[in-house]
């Protein structure tokens, strides 16, 4: 399946914006990404397997909040860097929601 790599992580992927890996869960996809691009996973998921505060994963235009989130063949996964400096990259896939789930507040780092 295809994974969209945001600009802050493209140093790992040789500037590639989309990469192809396989996995039946979000966690499996991240493991596969890390196997190919060592170090990438730790930048977005901490050592307790918690998604970092300013990282979001989007699957089928919905946020995926856990590494156990199931994936289906053909899914596209988008890694989003959320509200911590932004990006001037306007090449995000069309139709991608960057809104927050109801009631969720993001804390901007100082």
């Amino acid at each position: 399946m295809r994974v969209f790599i945001p600009p802050p992580l493209r140093s790992y992927t040789g500037a590639r914006r989309w990469v192809e890996v396989e996995g039946v869960t979000l966690g499996a996809v991240l493991d596969a990404l890390d196997a190919r691009y060592p170090g990438l996973r730790f930048r977005v998921v901490d050592e307790q397997d918690q998604i970092r505060p300013h990282i979001r994963f989007v699957v089928r235009e919905e946020f995926a909040h856990a590494l156990t989130h199931p994936l289906e063949p053909g899914d596209e996964i988008q890694i989003i860097c959320a509200l911590s400096g932004g990006s001037q990259d306007d090449t995000r896939p069309k139709g991608l929601s960057i809104g927050l789930p109801p009631g969720q507040v993001l804390e901007c780092p100082t």
């Binding site: 170090g39 990438l40 901490d46 397997d49 990282i55 400096g85």
Partner: protein, 408 residues
């Protein structure tokens, strides 16, 4: 591989590169200076390396390196003179360590950055938010490094910073200390494990500072620890003479006399002569209108009686800026019995500097050079042990760390 390869060298468009300094204007060369000093600067938005000439009157700036990264510490390994470790993170991405083995020309990410062990309850287990301190190990252990983190954690690398493991004895000890509520805490910037000091005579003899938590000693390479806070005030705690819970802002072990320690604390300036265990408050002799509050503590490279602090306003709401808007270093040459103001060349008024705990450093040359960075993005240096100061750079991002080095 992550990060940037082959960052170009040359003058930074952001950094003002200075002209000639006072020694040169007087027509005197600093002939005792044997090498080209480097000043390594970590900022909230990247790193810079300033390479000086032999007289320390001209500086060439390289950078920004990893623009946009918060660089909490940038340290050149004095054991090989070419390896640099950088503690970095960005607003979005988790913390990591970058390594250069060629003096900063190219960088590679650590294979396993500092990370806590997986907890039984992942939702409440600690996760490293940033590495705040890097210390090269003992000369007899040329691949060993230590790292201090936020939240509190001590990590060790035995392969030159490529992979890191927790010092489990320290993590276990932290759990014991945390049983007393409020005695292991956080600064406004989070809990900080810093001032990791290695005894030059014994690689197993370590000291460490926790903000907040206090100052601690290990005699077995971090396997076990004991508090070393007697004599240090902690006005913010509910007991008068606590065993721990203090707030050492920065501690330093003298390179020529490893029995002598100095400490700039949240509650004053102190000195400890081992094997003694009671700190002496040497900040009492600072001018009353300046006080003895600050962040950094800098030692002379050869004279154990000479040290510098950079006082800040710790009154009322704690502005943490230069008292009266008049920045100055204060030097003692007698182990803290007396202090002398050193402000020649610094702004005379309305200069509200804040110098962070790891943003003031001395080089090892003769006379010693001093360097500090401000949160307003300035780098200042003194080629004559603080007698005169001049600006090396302005308009940089918020300076978090300044270290010095003499490269191979």
């Amino acid at each position: 591989m992550a990060g940037t390869r082959g960052i170009s060298t040359g003058r930074s468009s952001r950094g003002k590169v200075s002209g000639r300094g006072p020694e040169s204007r007087k027509g005197r060369s600093v002939s005792k200076a044997p090498a080209h000093p480097w000043v390594l600067v970590g900022t909230k938005k990247g790193a810079f390396i300033f390479r000086g000439d032999r007289t320390r009157s001209r500086w060439q700036a390289t950078g920004p390196i990893f623009l946009g990264n918060e660089v909490n510490h940038l340290v050149l390994d004095p054991r090989d003179g070419r390896t640099i470790l950088m503690a970095a993170r960005t607003g979005h991405l988790g913390p990591t360590i970058f390594r250069s083995t060629n003096g900063g020309r190219a960088w590679k990410e650590a294979r396993r950055p500092p990370a806590f062990p997986k907890a039984n309850d992942a939702a409440t287990g600690p996760a490293v938010e940033r590495t705040v301190w890097l210390t090269p190990g003992h000369a007899s252990q040329p691949r060993v490094w230590y790292a201090g983190t936020s939240p509190h954690g001590l990590f060790r690398s035995e392969d030159g910073g490529i992979s890191w493991e927790p010092v489990s004895g320290f993590l276990d000890y932290l759990q014991v200390l945390k049983r007393r509520e409020g005695f292991i805490g956080a600064t406004p910037g989070g809990p900080l494990t810093h001032s990791i000091l290695v005894d030059l005579r014994d690689p197993a003899h370590l000291y460490i500072g926790l903000s907040t938590g206090g100052f601690f000693e290990s005699l077995d390479a971090g396997g076990s620890w004991k508090p070393l806070n007697q004599g240090v005030a902690a006005y913010f705690l509910p007991v008068k003479n606590p065993e721990y819970g203090h707030d050492p802002h920065c501690a330093a072990l003298h390179p020529a006399n490893p029995d002598r320690l100095y400490q700039q604390n949240h509650c004053g300036i102190y000195r400890l002569d081992r094997p003694g265990e009671v700190w002496k408050r040497i900040g009492r002799s600072m001018p009353k209108d300046v006080g003895d509050i600050g962040f950094p503590m800098v030692l002379h490279p050869r004279d154990p009686d000479t040290a510098w602090v950079f006082p800040m306003d710790g009154t009322k709401v704690w502005p943490r800026t230069s008292p009266g808007g008049r920045p100055a270093a204060y030097r003692t040459r007698d182990g803290g019995r007396t202090w002398q103001r050193q402000d020649r060349g610094l702004p005379r008024e309305h200069a509200y500097f804040t110098v962070m705990r790891q943003a003031f450093a001395a080089d090892s040359l003769d006379p010693a050079g001093l360097y500090f960075g401000t949160t307003s993005g300035e780098i200042w240096m003194s080629p004559d042990e603080g007698a005169t100061w001049r600006s090396v750079a302005a308009h940089l991002p918020y300076v978090l760390a300044v270290t010095t080095a003499t490269p191979a």
